[in-house]
């Protein structure tokens, strides 16, 4: 076996007595912990960590990393995920010891540079979104939604509105929207999409009454369409005393072109790990700052920053604040990256990003439309959805096409979402991809379409060239093996797993 393909677990590579890290031997206290600490507090069970040398560990993880797709190695046309390039200068900045070695409870006089970054980032986000104030605390988009729902609740409660029990979400919304609203006992009501894929105004009107707390909206929506009736939608909801929540997952195509704040949204979350170029890290960390209009400012989680004659400082929260939603100040490392990105874009670059994102998406849509059915009509914003329903007759599903794309070196688009489109394949190229890359992807898609006609099995059983073929996810869910401990207990050790 090639060492680079030794895919045993670190636990399975362990050999008693091996060490990677040497720690100080000297003890200062002259006390023996085993004698000094009461017996009843001491750990009795052993800790089954693996024992490996440093080279073993490094090689283990580097070889693991090579089994991944990533933006730096592959194109990710993942709809609603905005997998744009993650600039290296962002990483360089975030790794400066002057930031990484800051304790969150240091006196503000010793962290003025850091606070200035957070302050200015908030200023830029306000400008870009048209909102009046931001909390940077939320750790991710869904955490921002959660914060947003708390703000909705606090706002209505302050106005004696405890009968507002409904949250409206379009049927094309992200799953986090209903999940976030339901966490607070809100009754989630789905609003239908009209035949063009936008919010059905008639259906919306049907559901608008004095019980509506909020409408959560992604705009452009998950079909890649700008809600052209947006001004009417926000007006209608406001007329009924409801608030408007903007899910910022798709903010990228609006940079410099239009602002959620101007559309009438009261609350917004922004995904710094999408629009503002910070890396996804295999699932996180993200950052989900939440912005509000003036009437919601008193409810924001604390602490917020303030700027005084002496410099930047943390202000005490307003008495109406919902309270903190997280430890300390949020995912600061992610914010530094977003700050650097915005400084590099500057006022000149903002709109160039959204324009290129929209152009790339429309180009791809145009090049693919003769081979695959596009779910919507007319131009799209930064993403579009294909419906692969016609291939079902050959037994090929959208997910299969996604898997086959992996063989061509492309990450799969978002599959089976949004739920309103059967066999959906949602494609978002982002602005950072070169036309050559788009053309290669288009070519691959066309080749797969041919394959479906000539050799559907090849598509249905893809991928064929990756480190593993399709995992049996039914087995994984029926008999969950979630740790090495489970393996030992269930005796699913390597030899057997391979057999």
């Amino acid at each position: 076996m090639l060492i680079s393909q030794d895919d045993r677990l670190s636990f399975e590579k362990s050999k008693p007595g091996r060490r990677a890290i040497r720690l100080p031997e000297e003890r200062y206290s002259g006390e023996d912990p085993l004698k000094n600490i009461p017996q009843g507090l001491l750990r009795q069970t052993s800790i089954g960590f693996p024992e490996l040398g440093e080279l073993d560990v490094v090689r283990h993880f580097i070889n693991l990393s090579r089994k991944n797709f990533s933006v730096d190695t592959h194109f990710y046309p993942l709809g609603s995920c905005t997998m744009k390039y993650n600039p290296k200068v962002n990483e360089w900045a975030a790794r400066q010891e002057k930031f990484t070695a800051l304790h969150p409870l240091q006196d503000a006089t010793t962290t003025q540079g850091m606070l200035q970054i957070l302050w200015e980032l908030e200023e830029y986000l306000k400008e870009i979104s048209g909102m009046d104030r931001f909390t940077l605390q939320p750790a991710a988009g869904a955490h921002g939604e959660l914060t947003g729902m708390m703000l909705v609740r606090a706002y209505h409660a302050s106005r004696g509105g405890s009968t507002r029990t409904k949250v409206l979400v379009p049927d094309s919304s992200h799953g986090t929207n209903p999940a976030s609203a339901a966490l607070f006992g809100y009754h989630v009501v789905e609003i239908k999409s009209d035949s063009h894929g936008c919010v059905d105004l008639e259906d919306l009107k049907q559901h608008l009454d004095e019980h509506v707390a909020c409408l959560m909206l992604t705009n452009p929506n998950t079909l890649g369409l700008f809600e052209k009736n947006i001004l009417e939608i926000t007006k209608l909801v406001h007329q009924h005393g409801g608030l408007l929540y903007y899910d910022g997952a798709n903010l990228n195509p609006l940079l410099g072109i239009a602002r959620p704040g101007d559309m009438g949204f009261d609350i917004i979350h922004i995904n710094l790990h999408k629009t503002f170029s910070t890396p996804h890290g295999g699932g996180g960390p993200g950052s989900g700052p939440v912005g509000v209009k003036k009437h919601l400012m008193p409810f924001l989680p604390g602490p917020l920053m303030e700027r005084t004659k002496k410099g930047y400082a943390w202000a005490s929260p307003s008495p109406q604040s919902i309270g903190r939603v997280k430890l300390f100040h949020g995912n600061v490392g992610v914010m530094i990256r977003a700050y650097v990105y915005l400084r590099v874009l500057g006022k000149e670059g903002l709109r160039k990003v959204s324009e290129a994102a929209i152009l790339n998406a429309n180009y791809m849509k145009e090049m693919l439309k003769d081979v695959f059915k596009v779910a919507t009509e007319g131009p799209c914003m930064h993403e579009f959805v294909l419906s692969l329903k016609s291939f079902v007759a050959q037994g090929v599903h959208a997910g299969d096409v996604g898997k086959r794309l992996l063989d061509f070196g492309f990450h799969a688009p978002t599959v089976h979402f949004p739920l309103v489109v059967p066999e959906a394949l949602m494609i978002e190229p982002t602005e950072t991809e070169a036309r050559e890359t788009l053309d290669l992807f288009i070519e691959a898609m066309k080749e797969i379409a041919l394959e479906i006609a000539t050799d559907p099995e090849r598509v249905k059983t893809a991928p064929h060239t990756l480190p593993v073929r399709r995992p049996d996810d039914v087995l994984a869910a029926r008999k969950p093996i979630l740790s090495y401990r489970d393996q030992v207990r269930e005796k699913v050790l390597l030899a057997e797993a391979v057999a």
Partner: protein, 445 residues
């Protein structure tokens, strides 16, 4: 423009291929009244300029490397192995997406699986998720699990649990039918057994403890889980994961859920984040776990493979009935912790815990001899302890800061009754000279 690839010529030809005359035709759905807002942003910076700016802003900070810091209280200064930094910096991990396509994500998936495995070893519990946002939110989610699992309306939480954690918990539960009640601590700062027992009634869904608690005390939880379980409630424990190299694990204490902050496992302090919420439970609660789980299975050829599993719990499937709304987590932080724990290994995790205990024990002994400061030498601790200053702490802090020392975190700002008391933390990062220098400086106060 940096990061963009289309040339003007390409743009023109693409517009032509799309069949529109101008870009504006593509955004015709956006009402004209909304378009082209005035946005005030600074001008674009070139790379040398941004590097210079960042360096300048950095110089306005005094980091814990510039100063001698004894700050802890939920964020800890620890050494990070160079190899761990290299692993986390690996772009194939850093710039990868969530592993929804398992064939293209075996690296991330196996690393998560190994992280889960290491966390079950460390906590002595059965099932770990792939990570949560941080200690505070992870603990709040644990509380939600207890409320749902027992179908009871109340939570008990020790007042010796980190104030930010308790505040986050209250924020999460405000306006819901659920309530939180606290029980206090005794003169030594350990949870009040009588008050805990008195408040434990059939309405209690779960009880939350922290060890070492916010004051640095290692809590004696003997007999606690038995009481809680006899009452039909769940025991939730938040523990500094590094302390578990030496002290009893949540599993050994009989906890049902271990939820807390994984930052000490190889993550820098970074002014408060990104950190790592860990979440580990008994097997009975497996299907209530919030967030992603990586599982082991086989691929179509029978070869070992990893994939995300039990996804029907999650928001992208269950929508409004999901066990949690979490989507993005802190995967890269879990990778950092995974690399850190793997590098430390079986012996290293114990040694690092002992060294932390040794540094804090040494320092506490020295401070005990100072006439203007009081410590409790009988209280078991890990790497942090409580000090009472006989002089106003603000004066002490001022004097120390002037000498480049951050003496600790003032407790009074969290607990008004603990006047002039502060938390001092000493980890493996402190040499004997550092500790002696601190003691000498305190002696002058």
């Amino acid at each position: 423009m940096p990061y963009l690839s289309l040339t003007e010529e390409e743009k023109k030809s693409m517009l032509g291929q799309i069949g529109v005359r101008s870009f504006d035709e593509l955004i015709k759905d956006i009402p004209v009244s909304l378009r082209d807002p005035k946005i005030v942003l600074p001008s674009s910076l070139s790379e040398p300029e941004i590097q210079d700016l960042i360096s300048k802003l950095g110089r306005k900070n005094t980091s814990t490397r510039d100063a001698l810091s004894f700050l802890g209280a939920g964020s800890y200064e620890h050494f990070i192995p160079a190899a761990a930094l290299e692993i986390v910096g690996r772009q194939e991990f850093l710039t990868a997406y969530t592993p929804y396509q398992p064939e293209a994500s075996q690296g991330t998936l196996q690393a998560i699986y190994e992280y889960q495995s290491l966390m079950t070893e460390l906590t002595g519990l059965d099932v770990s998720n792939a990570s949560h946002y941080d200690g505070a939110t992870s603990l709040a989610e644990a509380a939600l699990v207890a409320l749902k699992h027992t179908d009871r309306p109340r939570l008990l939480v020790a007042r010796s649990v980190h104030p930010h954690y308790r505040e986050t918990l209250c924020t999460y539960l405000a306006g819901t039918p659920y309530t939180v009640e606290e029980f206090g601590f005794d003169g030594k700062g350990n949870f009040n057994r009588e008050e805990f027992a008195a408040k434990l009634d059939p309405g209690v869904a779960g009880v939350i403890f922290q060890t070492p608690n916010f004051f640095g005390n290692v809590e004696d939880l003997d007999g606690v889980s038995e009481k809680i379980h006899a009452n039909g409630s769940l025991m939730i424990l938040t523990a500094d994961p590094l302390s578990l190299g030496l002290f009893k694990s949540p599993g050994e204490w009989g906890a049902d859920i271990a939820a807390g902050e994984g930052q000490p496992l190889g993550l820098s302090m970074e002014f408060g984040g990104p950190y790592l919420g860990y979440f580990v439970t008994s097997r009975a609660l497996m299907r209530r776990i919030p967030g992603r789980l990586a599982g082991l299975t086989r691929d179509a050829d029978g070869k070992r493979a990893f994939c995300l599993t039990l996804q029907a719990r999650e928001q992208h499937i269950r929508r409004e009935r999901a066990s949690s709304n979490i989507c993005s987590n802190q995967a890269l932080c879990a990778l950092a912790a995974c690399a850190y724990m793997t590098l430390l290994g079986k012996k290293g995790i114990r040694e690092i815990a002992e060294i932390n205990w040794d540094r804090a024990t040494y320092l506490r002994g020295k401070i005990a001899k100072l006439k203007n400061f009081e410590v409790d030498l009988t209280q078991p601790i890990f790497n942090e302890f409580r000090v009472r200053s006989k002089r106003p702490f603000v004066k002490v802090e001022e004097k120390m800061t002037a000498q480049g020392i951050f003496p600790g975190v003032l407790l009074e700002s969290f607990y008004p009754e603990l006047k002039d008391q502060f938390l001092v933390c000493a980890t493996e990062t402190k040499s004997k000279e550092d500790l002696d220098r601190f003691v000498e400086a305190l002696a002058q106060c």
